[in-house]
């Protein structure tokens, strides 16, 4: 076992951290206020070759895996730039790479790897969230192609995406469960409409409701070319998504702890820095300990995923829960340490509440992780 980071990984960390630092949380917050995608930061990350470290080199990617993506996401978050779209991208590209036809890979991966093409991911519906496979958007055959009908919600970045991976129902198996299929749909396709959802998350990435009103999708847009394979494809994307969310949460924890520690060193109230009071310092030490535990688990989950080991399911879920809970605790302590200043925009803390809190609920909620552990790790009866 080896806990020392490779020189290559440390180099990625440093380089990405310096890109993030050059933009900083002020830039991120300004994009959020102006409700615009963080184009400049996105371009800087991709132009330096860190945007698609997980895609194969022959398409212009870095040839790495989730481990590398997680490093990039963590470092940007640690600089106060937790972009949701990096997580979406960390899911879409690998799905096409693993399941797409040769033609689909040629068509989409180079753009995704360069950052010039963006893809959204749409599975959630009003009646299908935690129970995502229970979705009701349908795809029916129409001549050589397909026609999609239904509605999706909370879909990130529809406005800046060129295409969206839509999960639709293409039939029912003999046990009555939906057979799912994934399609690559142009965001400008006829019959497709999207509307922004006003959110309490102050982020450059916006969320949308998506309406598919008999959208015609050509045959070659069916991921992998064969229908009814969607469930497997979705599942393959879940673990990297969880690892990447855990990495983003860990980065946020570092950001909050860094802010709090800096302030606790500087701020003098009774003739000495407030960080000299154990009542201030110990809770910070506690979140630091929790962060280190969460990071270890996140690394383990990434390592398992990149080696295609089956234990990744449990590890990714555990890492996600631990990292999300820790980030929220770190946020809370940063607020406490900053006193009234925590609520002033210039301190760059309060605006991150929405995103930090989100991590307990999405993409998989705390309760669903506990369900996973009770059922699969402990062997207790299924509760739902």
């Amino acid at each position: 076992m080896d806990f020392q980071e490779t020189a290559e990984h440390s180099a990625i960390r440093e380089a990405v951290a310096s890109i993030g630092a050059a933009f900083g949380h002020g830039y991120f917050a300004a994009c959020a206020r102006e409700k615009r995608f963080a184009d400049e930061l996105w371009a800087a990350v991709f132009d330096s070759g860190f945007g698609a470290v997980n895609l194969p080199e022959r398409y212009g990617g870095g040839g790495g895996g989730v481990h590398e993506t997680a490093i990039v996401i963590e470092e940007l978050a640690a600089q106060g730039c937790p972009l949701i779209h990096l997580i979406v991208a960390g899911m879409c590209g690998p799905i096409i790479d693993e399941f797409g036809t040769e033609e689909q890979k040629e068509r989409w991966l180079p753009g995704l790897a360069a950052g010039t093409v963006k893809m959204a991911f749409a599975i959630t519906e009003s009646e299908a969230g935690s129970n995502a496979p229970n979705l009701s958007t349908t795809a029916r055959r129409d001549g050589a192609g397909w026609v999609l009908k239904g509605a999706k919600q909370y879909i990130t970045n529809m406005d800046v995406a060129d295409a969206v991976l839509v999960v639709a129902r293409t039939g029912t198996d003999d046990r009555g469960r939906g057979l799912l299929t994934m399609f690559i749909v142009d965001t400008g396709a006829e019959g497709l409409e999207y509307r922004p959802i006003p959110m309490e998350i102050k982020e450059p990435d916006q969320q949308f409701s998506v309406y598919l009103d008999d959208v015609a999708v050509p045959r070659e847009r069916l991921v992998g070319g064969v229908p009814d394979q969607g469930l497997r494809q979705v599942f393959s994307g879940l673990n990297p998504e969880r690892v990447n969310v855990a990495a983003q949460a860990n980065g946020l924890s570092r950001y909050f702890i860094g802010k709090a520690v800096g302030y606790a060193r500087e701020r003098n109230v009774w003739g000495r820095p407030i960080g000299a009071h154990q009542g201030v310092a110990h809770p910070l030490a506690e979140v630091k300990i929790r962060l280190e535990l969460a990071r270890l688990m996140t690394h383990k989950a990434a390592w398992l995923f990149d080696r295609r080991l089956p234990e990744v399911g449990e590890a990714a879920a555990v890492a996600k829960l631990a990292a999300a809970d820790t980030a929220l605790a770190a946020f809370d302590q940063a607020v406490q340490v900053h006193g009234g200043n925590a609520f002033a925009s210039e301190y760059g803390i309060g605006d991150l509440w929405g995103l930090t809190r989100l991590m307990r609920s999405a993409p998989v909620s705390r309760e669903m992780v506990l369900n996973h552990v009770t059922q699969h790790s402990l062997g207790l009866p299924r509760s739902y």
Partner: protein
């Protein structure tokens, strides 16, 4: 506040909030009692219970000789004072972990008096049990080893029956070795035995148990306060890194949290006692449940804090920490865990069956 809520809170909870502050007279009584207990019941006596496996008989003689069990009983039974005085007395006794069945006797007498199942015999050690079904079969009794009288509350479809037994009629009790030998648990079987006396009470179980729960809350509050007092004294005494460990916020904040828990338990207990002693005892049931829950939590938390603050010493047999820890752990679950009491308090407030 809604009109309904306002009506609930204004006046009816206590006859007067001023009752919560002890009068000079009561404060003096409480002080006397505390001094007397601290002097007369040293912790060595509690420790002695570990050697004998049970309580020394002498402790009961001292407790009954001072007529403590009569405090808070009706004058017709030779009593004096009210339940507020009982609570002050039991808190002082709880602080020094008195190793005589004082609490058990008081709970028994208070329950008999509440239901009118006479006679009341304060000179005899006694104990209280609640049957879990319509017959008083096998009964697990806290501090029941020395009991000469056993009061059993039997739930009925409507209200309860309170029955008083002579333990001599019940056959020998099974004695159990428990974590706290200074308050040993006995198991009796009262299945086929005729009681000495009994009375039916149409009120719900929790209303009949309210004085006993308040007494129990006072005892646990005392245990919590005693543990806190020792922890504070140690924090002021022990030096590390050139200063008292009480100067470290990690220590003092922990103790401040315990202090808040103790004060909460004390206030609720006193409020319950005042409500039950007053003319409009309607809120007494709810308050007795809240007091019992708060006091259970405080006693367990304070004794844990004591163990922690004492460091390695807290793990030794020589230190007194385990005496408080054992007392809190063994007594706190009696008459319902904190969680159960909170639940029942909600039922009492809403006037629905618990």
């Amino acid at each position: 506040m809604s009109a309904a809520a306002e009506e609930r809170w204004s006046g009816s909870t206590l006859d007067s909030w001023r009752d919560l502050v002890l009068t000079d007279e009561r404060r003096e009584l409480a002080e006397t009692v505390r001094r007397q207990f601290a002097g007369g019941f040293p912790l060595e006596a509690v420790r002695a219970c570990f050697d004998g496996g049970s309580q020394p008989e002498g402790a009961w003689t001292a407790v009954s000789g001072a007529e403590y069990p009569s405090i808070g009983l009706p004058e017709s039974a030779g009593g004096l004072g009210t339940l507020v005085d009982t609570a002050a007395l039991l808190e002082a006794a709880g602080e020094v972990l008195v190793s005589a069945p004082l609490l058990a006797t008081v709970m028994s007498l208070q329950t008999l008096a509440r239901a009118g199942a006479l006679p009341l015999e304060p000179a005899r050690p006694a104990a209280l049990a609640v049957a879990d079904g319509p017959v008083a079969g096998r009964l697990v009794v806290l501090d029941g080893v020395l009991a000469e009288r056993l009061t059993v509350v039997v739930p009925r479809e409507r209200g309860v029956t309170v029955a008083q037994f002579d333990t001599a009629d019940l056959g020998p009790a099974e004695e159990h070795r428990h974590v706290d030998p200074s308050r040993p648990v006995a198991v009796f079987d009262a299945g086929e035995v005729p009681p000495l006396s009994h009375a039916d009470d149409p009120r719900p179980l929790d209303a009949v148990l309210a004085p006993a729960r308040t007494a129990l809350a006072a005892d646990l509050t005392g245990t919590a306060a005693g543990a806190l007092d020792r922890a504070v004294r140690h924090a002021l005494d022990r030096e590390q890194f050139g200063r008292k460990i009480g100067a470290f916020q990690a220590v003092k904040h922990r103790l401040a949290d315990v202090y808040i828990a103790v004060e909460r338990a004390r206030s609720l207990t006193r409020a319950a006692a005042v409500a039950l002693a007053g003319p409009s005892a309607s809120s007494g049931t709810e308050l007795s449940l809240l007091a019992k829950a708060a006091a259970s939590e405080a006693a367990v938390d304070a004794s844990r804090a004591l163990v922690q603050v004492l460091g390695a010493m807290g793990m030794t047999f020589e230190s007194d920490a385990h005496l408080f820890f054992r007392r809190a752990q063994q007594t706190a679950p009696f008459l319902g865990s904190a969680a159960a009491c909170y639940r029942r308090a909600v039922a009492a407030r809403r006037g629905v069956p618990a």
